[in-house]
Symmetry: C2
Subunit: 188 residues, 2 copies
DNA sequence: CGAAAATTTGACATGACTCAACTGGAGTGG
DNA sequence: CCACTCCAGTTGAGTCATGTCAAATTTTCG
């Protein structure tokens, strides 16, 4: 895990082993079983999670009972409900493991502490946030301008690994299509 | 402008006048007429723009000829095509002034220079980026789960100033509704 | 005032949804 | 190893939200 973190963070700035050690000490390694919740809907998101191994989904259950998936995340991604994490408000969605998943989880206080001790980390997260913004914009672009069929084919093409690790009805939810209609799309 | 920038940045970290002066010197003040382009579609986005006064839209023209607005920005917002700015690729959309608009525009090189001279700026943009991510997630949430009518009422409620400064057909485009259907929604 | 731009109206078309029933594979337990 | 259940996926009929297109009307502004 330390080695993985080292490699990962050095994509963004030059961190040495002392830095990594400090970051590591300010977090907690935890493993979640399949279906276990990292964050429950309507509770405060206390951690930013670095996924070392596994796969999670972020989703909400509507009043109608419908599930609505807003994101998947895998190895070497960060996941959190930023709004809830930063503002300490109740999260509108949940984060759930879809496989056995190992993470490094860091509280807001510890993260703030790390930012002050390791200014490079500020830089790394500035860049990571910008990358996430770019990804978000691309996803948005797709959703605004493309029909269901194009969204699906784009998804399969861009994230082939996901379409294998995740059941079809979850992909449908992520793409904002009904499972029935996705099935029809696939028939072609 | 300097004073505005000072106030704005001090929301995120403690900058003194020397910092602001340096930032100011690394950018260029420019005023764009109504309808003038800050960035043209299919060209590299050379600047990050801090809007001091005015209003812009970010949009693309599809092959079909349709215009598609992805964002508006006003006073005290930053606007850029991040993907194009960072990766120096051609921008898929344009940025155009909808009123006479005054900005401080900073190139990537100068911004990098500023980051190295003023580490606090790294922190400020880390936070700004996170805030943008939160805003993006909220917008996405709306688009995924709400019908046209709810999106429109949410927009009017949350951004009443925009619905006055921007023509209706542009709001329709931003909300991904046809102008005709928005008109029908408003009839009620 | 007059032209161009924005908005509205109405007839018709369609992508995507709902709901209910059916199929098939993956356990699970006797 | 069969019978049973459960869940994901498929199919089909009917429906609805929203889009398209073309024309009429209103507003804007030089």
């Amino acid at each position: 895990m330390k080695n993985q973190l080292y490699k990962y963070l050095n994509r963004y700035a030059k961190f040495d082993n002392v830095d990594i050690e400090l970051i590591y000490k300010n977090g907690v390694i935890q493993t979640y079983d399949n279906k276990e919740f990292l964050l429950e809907q309507n509770s405060v998101c206390k951690y930013k999670y670095f996924i070392s191994k596994g796969l999670v989904r972020q989703y909400k259950v509507e009043d109608s009972g419908n599930e609505n998936i807003s994101a998947f995340a895998i190895e070497n991604w960060w996941i959190t409900n930023l709004d809830s994490f930063i503002n300490e408000t109740n999260s509108l969605n949940a984060i759930q493991a879809l496989e056995e998943t190992t993470v490094l989880q860091i509280t807001k206080e510890n993260l703030e502490h790390l930012y002050s001790k390791i200014p490079k980390l500020e830089r790394a997260f500035r860049i990571i946030s910008e990358n996430m913004l770019i990804a978000f914009q691309r996803k948005n672009e797709l959703h605004m301008n493309k029909n269901s069929e194009k969204r699906y084919y784009n998804f399969v093409e861009k994230l082939p690994n996901f379409s294998q690790r995740v059941p079809q009805y979850m992909i449908a939810s992520y793409l904002n299509i009904t499972p029935e209609y996705l099935s029809e799309i696939r028939k072609k």
